[in-house]
């Protein structure tokens, strides 16, 4: 451990590598978390199939790129549209029936969905680990000490762009306003003539499309396999819980922050603590929140 810290102090360039990688990895996780925050905030559905949506997006990108020879990055809009349709269908078939039920019903339903999706992906694409290739190689900096896949920078840019687009959409479009109104008070929104069922369907489909987009990037940056969705689900929950529901800029910040912390803990403490640290951070945030809330007497005892 001290040896690792010494390395960082003696050659600060390695810090640049850790920070850049952390930001880019964080950006990928941010997207799925972003979608989760949306669904959670608007519909109060905790979507446990979040990671499976990501993996499915990844497989679609991989499959389209493989069969048509397209660059996987260019499949992103196609995948987003396909996943939007898929999300809408899942809403109509399933989520509509659990959206106003209690917490456990929606948890169970989406957990079931996750299992069905894993098996379906396994049947459709097989259990092998797959990757999609962006094919542009790495960007080398600081005399080769820092070398990062070009696609990671694209992912970072996309994440920021997409986040901006969603925020603008929420603020300025009719649908966005309706979504916000529904999340504030679904009953009042209905009284005002908003078709909340459509709003829910749209929100869920939008989440699915965002996850699909994240999946395209995951296939190019990490690896995909039908059962690897869990990592993304867990990470989304950690990020959203740490940021607080309904705090969309907070989601991005906490995703990027956790990405960087993860890289540092992996480097200093060792790889086995890389993921553990993320969960410890969540714990600390929750303890801090509880403490803050107790000071203004809002804590639930």
């Amino acid at each position: 451990m001290w040896g690792s810290i010494e390395v960082l102090l003696s050659l600060p360039a390695y810090n640049v590598g850790l920070i850049l990688n952390g930001l880019c990895v964080g950006a990928v996780f941010a997207l799925a978390a972003y979608g989760l925050a949306l669904v959670w905030g608007v519909m109060n559905v905790k979507n446990l199939a979040q990671g499976e949506f990501v993996i499915m997006g990844g497989y679609l990108a991989w499959y389209i790129a493989k069969t048509t020879g397209m660059n996987p990055l260019l499949t992103l809009p196609i995948v987003a549209v396909l996943m939007f349709v898929f999300g809408w269908a899942i809403y109509v078939l399933m989520i509509r029936r659990v959206v106003d039920k209690d917490l456990f019903t929606s948890l169970l339903a989406t957990f079931g969905l996750a299992i069905v999706m894993q098996q379906a992906l396994n049947l459709a694409f097989g259990p092998e680990v797959q990757v999609a290739q962006f094919g542009r190689g790495s960007v080398s900096m600081m005399g080769g000490i820092v070398s990062i896949l070009e696609i990671k920078f694209w992912a970072f840019g996309m994440c920021i762009l997409l986040a901006g687009a969603v925020v603008a959409f929420m603020k300025f479009s009719r649908m966005g306003q309706a979504i916000r109104a529904t999340s504030q008070d679904a009953r009042a929104a209905r009284v005002m003539g908003i078709n909340t069922d459509r709003v829910y369907a749209f929100t869920y489909a939008l989440n699915s499309a965002i996850c699909g987009a994240a999946g395209v990037l995951v296939a190019m940056i990490m690896v995909i396999q039908p059962y690897y969705g869990v990592t993304h689900s867990v990470r989304s929950f950690v990020i959203v819980t740490a940021a607080g529901i309904g705090n969309l800029p907070g989601v991005i910040m906490s995703a990027l922050g956790l990405g960087v912390i993860e890289q540092y803990s992996g480097f200093v403490l060792g790889a086995e603590f890389q993921v553990a640290t993320v969960v410890v951070m969540l714990l600390l945030v929750l303890i801090w929140r509880q403490y803050q809330a107790s000071r203004i007497r809002q804590v639930v005892r």
Binding site: N122, V129, V131, G137, S138, M222, Q263, G266, E272
Partner: protein, 412 residues
């Protein structure tokens, strides 16, 4: 009284039933072997490779007339159940095969985890099991009497890479004790076994371990570890983490332009690194149980290359190469056939003793079991990826190509 009578007749009925099922292991002129195998779920690809290996060997033995026991020819038939890649299901199905179907000879499932779940069951009933796909060292430390494995155990997987690095150091006038070794192993029984073997051999040569990482199972990013590799510049980097680990490592080694002169890993072929990362994977050393270029041979299949050719002709989808999983599965069936003939009986304890005394040469390699049931007659082989092809470079006796050292820098 009546109740006792009833109880007795039930017991008698059960006894007579068990007698009839006990005969089910050999029906007419057919010997029935049982296997729970992963045909669906996460191991299904390798489960099917295994099944294909079993079937091809059974077919070939039957085409050649079958197995001669007590002067009579018998055919081999294998009864399968799908264990859905879950250990609990595997154990249930093993019970079912033995208890309900009366199977008295078992072929192994796929993976160490499943074998670990099934071995206590076969042991309980004294049913001999020849397995081909469970390499974990821990399978052979339980004192199992009825478990036999044709493959090399996991701690041998990458130990030869250490010897190879030491030889290379000597030939360039360096002391092996000066070599710096970086290790990154997944936190699971298989990879930790591999690590134990590597550590033992590294200690023998007095090499310094500069990095020793435990990769968590759900890790999808190795950059912090690889940045450490960049900073500390080891002479040898060893990685084991199943297909996911191999794919992630190959991707990020390329991405980060890691320039370690020797990189060794497991599961290269399962992760298809030559297809996915042709540039980054050049020069990788990969552990393998078997290679079709080896010069082993037997009377049934001919040489290792003949096996590969026949396998490709029989099954579709193996144009890129026949996995060692299929080869060792076929070898397991051959071991059983050989044991039946030598036992000259269908008594399961006699068959067990015959298995224990196995000493044969196959296209897959020599097979001779230690007391614990693991095969001690076959070494692990080390491939090096040269010009995007897997070539055997170690151990020296079986090497077809010379080691390329240092490996060319990975430019992605």
């Amino acid at each position: 009284m009546l109740l006792r009578k009833l109880g007795f007749s039930v017991a008698a009925a059960a006894l007579s039933m068990s007698v009839t099922t006990a005969q089910a292991k050999v029906e007419g002129d057919t010997i029935i072997l049982g296997s729970a195998i992963s045909l669906t779920g996460k191991y299904s690809t390798n489960g099917i490779h295994t099944q294909n290996g079993y079937e091809l060997a059974a077919k070939l033995i039957n085409d050649g007339g079958g197995v001669t026991v007590d002067g009579k020819k018998y055919k081999i038939k294998i009864e399968y159940y799908d264990d859905e890649s879950t250990p609990a299901r595997g154990a249930q199905l093993a019970e079912r095969l033995i208890q309900q179907d009366g199977v008295e000879y078992m072929l192994g499932p796929y993976s160490s985890g499943l074998t670990k779940a099934i071995a206590p069951v076969t042991e309980k009933y004294g049913v001999p099991m020849v397995e081909a796909e469970g390499a974990s060292r821990s399978l052979f430390t339980q004192g199992y009497r009825y478990l036999f494995a044709v493959l090399s155990t996991s701690e041998q997987y990458l130990a030869s890479a250490i010897d190879l690095a030491a030889e290379q150091a000597k030939s360039t006038g360096k002391d092996p004790a000066e070599l710096k070794v970086a290790l990154a192993f997944e936190n699971d029984p298989f990879s930790q076994d591999v690590r134990a073997g590597v550590m033992e051999d590294a200690a023998k040569h007095g090499m310094q371990i500069v990095i020793d990482e435990n990769l968590p199972r759900d890790l999808s990013d190795m950059t912090p570890t690889l940045i450490k590799v960049k900073a500390l510049k080891p002479d040898l980097l060893i990685i084991s983490g199943h297909s996911k680990g191999a794919a992630t490592a190959a991707r990020q080694i390329g991405e980060m332009a890691i320039e370690v002169p020797m990189i060794a890993l497991t599961h290269c072929d399962a992760a298809k690194v030559t297809e996915k990362f042709p540039e980054a994977s050049e020069g990788f050393l990969c552990a393998t149980q078997w290679s079709p270029t080896l010069t082993y041979s037997d009377d049934l299949f001919g040489s290792a290359a003949d096996f590969e050719k026949l396998f490709k002709e029989t099954y579709e989808g193996y144009d890129a190469g026949v996995p060692y999983q299929s080869a060792q599965a076929a070898a397991a069936v051959m071991v059983f056939a050989d044991a039946f003939e030598r036992a000259n009986s269908f008594d399961k304890d006699k068959v067990r003793d015959a298995l224990s005394a196995t000493d044969m040469m196959t296209f897959y390699g020599g097979i001779k079991f230690a007391e614990a049931g693991n095969n001690i007659a076959k070494p692990m082989v080390l491939w090096q990826i040269q010009d995007n092809q897997y070539q055997v470079v170690a151990p020296p006796k079986w090497a077809s190509h010379k080691l390329v050292w240092p490996r060319q820098a990975a430019g992605n």
